[in-house]
C-alpha cells in the first residue's frame, strides 16, 4: 500500500498552516516528519488520517489502510491493559490472539491485568502503541510516539517499527527526538510553511477577510 500525498494544504483554526506538502511513502519505508513546535505536524497527520478535511491537494491512501496514533492514547482507565487491547482487536477484526501477541511484543505481558489507571506515564504510552499492532493496517501515522518512553522502550519501539517495515508496512512519524531508525528518510516541514499565513479558502476567515472593503 503506497501513500502518495500531493500538493496538500492543511489548516488549523481557520488558517492554512502548511501548503504544497508532497511526498510518497513506499511500502517498507519510514518517513520522519520534523519541524518546530506549532508548525503543523499534528494537523498534517490528522488530515491524512481523514479526521479533518484537507484544504486542497490529494491523499492517495484510503482511510481503511491507515492506523493513527495521536498524542492521546485512547485508553480506558477502568479496564485492564489486556481488555483495552482486546477491544481494539475486535473492532479491527484481528482476533483475540492479536492482543496477546501485541502485549508480548511491547513487553507488557507482566502488566496485562493491571488497570490502565495504574500504569506509569511510559507504560501507558507503550500500551497505546501496542494498539497499532492489533489494527493490522499497513500504514502507520505516529504523532510523537516516544513521548515519556525511556531509552530501552524507545529502542524496543524502533524494533517494532522496523519489523513492521520489513513485513511490507510503512510509517509516517512526527517526532522531535532521534528514534534510531537509520533507514528512515526525513522531511522537514519548515519548507512547506506558507510565506504568508492566510485564511482557508471558503472558510469563515476568508469569507470575511475583505467583507467590508476599506473602512471609510
Amino acid at each position: 500500500m503506497e501513500l502518495r500525498v500531493g500538493n496538500l494544504a492543511v489548516s488549523r483554526g481557520g488558517l492554512v498552516v502548511l501548503e504544497g506538502v508532497g511526498f510518497t511513502l513506499h511500502p517498507g519505508r519510514a518517513l520522519v516528519l520534523r519541524g518546530a513546535n506549532g508548525i503543523g505536524k499534528t494537523t498534517l497527520l490528522r488530515t491524512i488520517a481523514g479526521l479533518q478535511p484537507a484544504v486542497c491537494g490529494e491523499i492517495s491512501a484510503a482511510p481503511e489502510c491507515l492506523a493513527y496514533a495521536s498524542h492521546a492514547d485512547g485508553l480506558k482507565a477502568a479496564l485492564s491493559a489486556r481488555a483495552n487491547l482486546s477491544f481494539w482487536a475486535s473492532v479491527f477484526g484481528t482476533g483475540r490472539d492479536a492482543a496477546g501477541a501485541a502485549l508480548e511484543r511491547m513487553e507488557l505481558t507482566g502488566l496485562q491485568d493491571r488497570l490502565a489507571a495504574q500504569l506509569s506515564a511510559g507504560q501507558k504510552r507503550r500500551l497505546g502503541l501496542a494498539r497499532l499492532l492489533v489494527t493490522g493496517r499497513p500504514v502507520w501515522l505516529l504523532d510523537e510516539p516516544t513521548v515519556s518512553l525511556d531509552q530501552a522502550a524507545v529502542a524496543l519501539f524502533a524494533g517494532v517499527v522496523r519489523a513492521h517495515l520489513a513485513a511490507g508496512g510503512s510509517a509516517l512519524i512526527a517526532t522531535h527526538i532521534d528514534l534510531g531508525l537509520d533507514e528512515a528518510e526525513t522531511l522537514d516541514l519548515g519548507a512547506f510553511r506558507p510565506r504568508q499565513l492566510r485564511p482557508v479558502a471558503g472558510g469563515f476567515g476568508e469569507a470575511f477577510d475583505d467583507a467590508t472593503g476599506a473602512l471609510p
Binding site: 479533518q52 477502568a78 479496564l79 475486535s90
Partner: protein, 218 residues
C-alpha cells in the same frame, strides 16, 4: 459492534462507571419530592406518575454526557472514527448501551418507587409500559444532543438545556399514558403517539448524530 456494546456495558458496571447511579438518582428524586412537598398522600398519589416520569427523564439526562465526552477526552473517539465501523452504528450502539443501563433499569425499579409515592394499583402496568416504550426515545435523543456538545469540556449543563426541549413530547405523552392508566381512562392515543416518537427518533437521529460527530472531530 458487539465489542463496543460490551465495552460500554463493562465500563458502566465498573466503579464510577455510572450504572446504579442513574437508578440512585431516580430513587433520590422519589424521596426528595415527598420531603419537599410534604407528606399528604392524596396529593402525592395525584402527582406520582408525573413525578416518576420527570425523575426518569432527569436520571437519563444526567448520564448523557458520558456517552461521548469520555471517549473524546481520552482520544478513543478519534480512533473509533478511523476504525472500520460506521459512525451511525457507533451512535446507535452507544445509545443502546445507555438505554440498557438507565432506561431499562429505571423501568424495572419504577414500581418500587411508585409505592413510595402512593400510586394507585391500577396505574402500575401502565407506568411500566409507558416507561418501557418511552425511555428508548430518551436515550436516542440524548445521544444526539451529546454529540452536539462533544467538543466542550463539561458541557453537561448546556447539554441539558439543549436536550430538555427535545424531551418534551416524550415526557408529555409518557406521563399522560401513566396518568390515564392510574385514573383508569382510555390511553390508546397517547400510547400510539409515544411509540411513534420512539420509532421515528430511532430511525432518524443516528444520522444527524453521526454528522455532528464528524463536525466535532475536524
Amino acid at each position: 459492534m458487539i465489542a463496543l456494546l460490551l465495552r460500554d456495558l463493562t465500563l458502566a458496571f465498573r466503579a464510577g462507571g455510572g450504572f446504579g447511579l442513574g437508578l440512585a438518582f431516580f430513587l433520590l428524586v422519589a424521596v426528595l419530592v415527598p420531603l419537599g412537598v410534604g407528606p399528604e398522600s392524596g396529593i402525592l398519589a395525584i402527582i406520582a406518575p408525573g413525578i416518576l416520569w420527570v425523575g426518569a427523564l432527569l436520571a437519563s439526562l444526567l448520564s448523557l454526557d458520558r456517552i461521548f465526552a469520555l471517549d473524546h477526552e481520552d482520544g478513543s473517539l478519534d480512533l473509533l472514527a478511523t476504525a472500520p465501523l460506521p459512525l451511525e452504528g457507533v451512535v446507535a450502539i452507544k445509545a443502546l448501551a445507555h438505554w440498557l443501563v438507565t432506561g431499562l433499569a429505571l423501568t424495572l425499579v419504577a414500581p418500587l418507587l411508585a409505592v413510595l409515592l402512593n400510586l394507585p394499583a391500577a396505574g402500575y402496568p401502565w407506568l411500566l409500559l409507558s416507561l418501557a416504550v418511552g425511555t428508548p426515545a430518551l436515550s436516542v435523543i440524548g445521544a444526539f444532543g451529546a454529540t452536539l456538545t462533544i467538543g466542550l469540556r463539561r458541557g453537561g449543563l448546556l447539554l441539558s438545556l439543549l436536550v430538555l426541549p427535545l424531551y418534551v413530547p416524550t415526557l408529555v405523552f409518557g406521563a399522560e399514558v401513566a396518568r390515564r392508566g392510574a385514573a383508569g381512562m382510555a390511553l390508546a392515543t397517547p400510547l400510539a403517539l409515544l411509540a411513534a416518537i420512539t420509532a421515528g427518533s430511532l430511525a432518524l437521529l443516528p444520522f444527524a448524530a453521526a454528522a455532528a460527530i464528524r463536525v466535532n472531530l475536524r
